[in-house]
């Protein structure tokens, strides 16, 4: 299987542009749904983070890395990757400060059941943030290398 020697840039392909513009909002919406509906349906922070990242990576594939990095700068994903773990661990520290064991969420609210809900929601947010940022980070690392190489040649 061989590709044409001089392919069009992806952003010049009308079908790709239009369908991706239609799809990306739905992908992001679905990512949010998976994130916040993880208690009731399948999914959770990990899947949501990956789906969210996939939406942004699709944008980057079609419209170029520069456009993507204006939306999600490199610095943001670097910080976000660490921030997610910090949120997760921080929830544990908060539960200690409230007088319970590490990651025992029942003290986070007046009602133990509600506290557990909040706890799971918070740590899922942390997981989602870390996974999303790390996926973007890895994509940036690969894509930046390609760009460096292209510039060098």
């Amino acid at each position: 299987m061989s590709l044409p020697r001089q392919p069009m840039r992806m952003r010049e392909k009308l079908v790709l542009r239009v369908t991706s513009k239609l799809l990306i909002p739905l992908i992001l919406l679905f990512g949010l749904y998976v994130q916040f509906h993880g208690d009731f349906g399948p999914g959770g922070g990990f899947q949501a983070g990956v789906i969210f990242a996939a939406g942004f990576i699709l944008y980057g594939l079609i419209f170029g890395l520069n456009e993507l990095q204006q939306v999600v700068p490199h610095r943001v994903v670097e910080v976000g990757s660490a921030l997610g773990v910090l949120i997760y661990g921080g929830v544990g520290v908060v539960t200690i400060l409230l007088g319970a064991n590490y990651l025992d969420y029942s003290v986070l609210a007046h009602d133990a059941v509600h506290g557990r809900h909040y706890g799971i929601l918070a740590i899922e947010a942390g997981v989602g943030l870390t996974v999303f940022s790390t996926m973007m980070l890895i994509f940036y690392a690969f894509a930046d290398r390609g760009r460096a190489k292209e510039g060098a040649s």
Binding site: V113, R147, E150
Partner: protein, 203 residues
């Protein structure tokens, strides 16, 4: 048994895809075939009611891995170099596969109610706990988020560490001049198109 006829074609397709990936020389086709392999696995997981796993497989295996494969492809050649046929890897893979299949003979049949994993006393704790203490229908979320919260914290840290590792290995930021290319073998410009389009940093 109703599930067998549904899954058998999927397994055969798996096998065909795997053989194709191993045989094919064009790396672009091989990268796309790995995505197809992941999608087939995703179908299999869905059939086995492991929807969470199927989700992850579809997003990571079929989506992002394929993108990263294509990104790597832009940095290397488009065709696999002809390798001499070697017997030893075949033997190792064959023996390992046979050992794994032999190991499954000891396992209870798929979906058996008396499988050890359903008999463990902890199962009742989790299943009833998810209902009584959490009021959350998805037991997977409860187990991952709360009962096994430490494990999930560790997994999150692993993902973070993986990201940092990739950043350290691949980030070109330490070479600010960009004069000395570490690989030393820059391909002609018209062979970088997969990521050339991807990055498109030209204006």
């Amino acid at each position: 048994m109703p599930p067998i006829p549904v899954e058998l074609p999927l397994f055969i397709l798996h096998l065909i895809t795997a053989v194709l990936i191993a045989r094919i020389r064009g790396l672009f086709s091989a990268a796309m075939l790995t995505g197809i392999f992941s999608l087939l696995s995703c179908c299999l997981f869905t059939l086995m009611d492991a929807v969470d796993v199927a989700f992850t497989e579809a997003a990571v295996g079929a989506g992002i891995s394929t993108v990263l494969m294509l990104g790597t492809l832009a940095l290397t050649d488009r065709e696999e170099r002809q390798q001499p046929v070697r017997i030893l890897p075949f033997v190792v893979v064959g023996v390992t596969g046979a050992a794994l299949v032999y190991g499954t003979f000891d396992m209870p049949p798929f979906g058996a109610a008396d499988a050890p994993i359903h008999q463990h006393p902890l199962v009742a704790t989790y299943v009833h706990g998810a209902h009584d203490d959490f009021h959350i229908p998805n037991i997977v979320t409860v187990v991952l988020g709360s009962y096994r919260g430490y494990d999930t914290l560790g997994e999150t840290a692993v993902i973070f560490t993986a990201g940092v590792g990739v950043l350290l290995l691949l980030s070109g930021r330490r070479r600010r001049d960009g004069e000395s290319d570490p690989g030393g073998q820059t391909p002609p410009p018209d062979e970088t198109e997969v990521l050339g389009e991807t990055s498109g940093g030209d204006e």
